[in-house]
């Protein structure tokens, strides 16, 4: 059975657990570094990126998370998770995990009153996908090996690069599990190739 962890330091992690289980994989909330050893893939959820980063530092998650990604195990970052994955953050903010070759802008669509939902087409994943954006970041640029999966108003809002998947919106807040199912498939494939 494929087991996907959800980083449970702060944010909407229980919703991701539900979505993973609805997509046919097992899920566990990851609060301690040791738990990373027993999972095949990881979701870094939405929440407040500054809070999650502080707790990552406090509990020594930074290097273990980087190693997890470098071992080839897939990581999916949503909203705050996308910011944590990025190799470059617009403005003066420090880079966090720096695993995925993307440049992001925080709170890029504005404050909460500008938050919105919209139907998007996500290449190879879903058409007419109800995407919920909350004080969301967007991706300003994707590296050479990366692929843009979705845009909104000309801004990149979903991308994939090797085992890394990132989106600006919150797939866990709706009953549409297609984005999570796409990640589950990525994890299943990586598990097969890592076993070889």
């Amino acid at each position: 059975m494929t087991t996907i962890g959800v980083l449970g330091l702060q944010g909407a992690f229980r919703e991701h657990v539900r979505s993973i289980e609805a997509s046919g994989a097992e899920s566990v909330v990851v609060k301690k570094v040791e738990q990373l050893e027993n999972i095949d893939g990881l979701i870094i959820p939405g929440g407040e990126s500054t809070t999650i980063r502080r707790l990552i530092d406090k509990y020594g998650f930074l290097e273990p998370l980087r190693d997890f990604g470098k071992q080839g195990k897939p990581i999916f970052g949503t909203c705050a998770g996308l910011i944590l994955l990025a190799s470059e953050i617009d403005g003066s903010y420090d880079v966090h995990l720096g695993l995925m070759d993307i440049k992001v802008r925080r709170n890029a669509f504005g404050r909460q009153r500008e938050s919105f939902e919209v139907d998007l087409d996500i290449e190879g994943v879903a058409e007419g996908y109800n995407a919920v954006f909350i004080r969301a970041p967007y991706i300003e640029g994707v590296g050479e090996s990366g692929k843009v999966l979705a845009t909104y108003n000309g801004h990149i809002v979903a991308a994939q690069q090797d085992g890394y998947l990132a989106c600006s919106f919150h797939p866990e807040l709706t009953e549409d599990h297609r984005m999570t199912a796409h990640f589950v498939k990525m994890v299943e494939e990586s598990k097969k190739s890592l076993a070889l």
């Binding site: 449970g8 330091l9 702060q10 944010g11 909407a12 992690f13 229980r14 919703e15 609060k31 939405g46 929440g47 407040e48 500054t50 809070t51 502080r54 707790l55 406090k58 909203c79 705050a80 903010y93 925080r106 709170n107 404050r111 909460q112 009153r113 500008e114 938050s115 919105f116 939902e117 919209v118 919920v132 954006f133 909350i134 004080r135 909104y152 919150h170 807040l173 709706t174």
Partner: protein, 294 residues
């Protein structure tokens, strides 16, 4: 077509705050301390509840310049309080661009009968509740997030505990009721029937419910999480302690790891003096902020 201000967007914003601590601040400097300590949001105020209590008189929305200073100082969401029923204060805060409005009994109510019709706004609202009747009335008025009322500015957790337990216990009770019994329960509690049916089905509220009103220590925060709170608001507890930075960090960690008692013990060791606090029986009836709304 994109849509702003939908239930999903407003309630979703509160979902992102789960497992976090929202701290009261009165200036940019405190806001930065809160952000640095790992707060998920700050509540910009003119005075913390303990000082509002001490000052007496009419407590109103904060000066917009304080709210703006705080918004400019941090990248985390900024909340602000409007008086209960004060439509204009709420509209002003919305126009300022605050991320969440607390229609709060900590301020002197502007309307003793009606709350703001919150679903007319693009900005989401949080409201206090002591029981399922208050919780469901606020949700139906458009609140996207709830919190216990507790008794603000007292540093005494007893009322927040009582309110959290009351709501949880009523949800458990509701789950065992038949549909005809729910109708009578709705009448007795002044609760919208259809919303009760929805909660009965789901086994939980349709919005997050944070703890607030009296949290003063890391153990208080962890206790509220243990009792089922989705996160905590800390008002006077941080900046009325003798070491706000340490208190703030310790409360954030205790909220994340609320069932790691060894860690909470460590966090509490030599932490210094918490805010002084008040015993409930010393509070005159007209000093009880939680009784300001139904």
């Amino acid at each position: 077509m994109s849509q702003t201000g939908t239930d999903r967007v407003k309630r979703g914003m509160a979902e992102m705050q789960k497992g976090g601590v929202i701290m009261d601040v009165v200036n940019a400097e405190q806001a930065k301390i809160a952000e640095e300590a790992g707060a998920v949001a700050v509540m910009a105020l003119e005075r913390v509840p303990a000082d509002i209590r001490a000052a007496g008189g009419v407590a109103r929305m904060a000066d917009p310049s304080i709210v703006e200073d705080v918004m400019n100082a941090v990248s985390i969401p900024v909340m602000a309080k409007a008086r209960i029923g004060h439509i204009t204060e709420a509209r002003v805060l919305e126009a300022l661009g605050v991320d969440y409005i607390d229609e709060s009994e900590v301020l002197t109510p502007a309307d003793e009968v009606y709350h703001i019709k919150k679903d007319d706004y693009t900005v989401p609202f949080v409201c206090g509740c002591r029981n399922l009747g208050e919780a469901t009335r606020r949700i139906r008025e458009g609140a996207s997030m709830l919190r216990t009322k507790g008794e603000p500015g007292t540093g005494n957790i007893v009322e927040a505990v009582s309110h959290m337990r009351q709501v949880q216990s009523q949800i458990r009770h509701l789950r065992g009721l038949s549909e005809d019994e729910v109708m009578v329960y709705a009448k007795d509690n002044g609760a919208p029937f259809d919303l009760l049916m929805e909660i009965r089905e789901a086994g939980r509220l349709p919005v997050v419910n944070f703890a607030a009103g009296g949290i003063a220590t890391p153990s208080d925060a962890a206790l509220m999480m243990q009792l089922g709170a989705d996160g905590v608001f800390v008002g006077s507890g941080i900046f009325k302690s003798n070491d706000p930075e340490r208190f703030a960090r310790a409360i954030v960690e205790a909220t994340t790891h609320y069932d790691d008692y060894k860690l909470i013990g460590e966090l509490s060791r030599g932490l210094g003096t918490a805010m002084k606090g008040m015993e409930m029986s010393t509070l005159a009836a007209d000093q009880r902020m939680q009784d300001r709304s139904q």
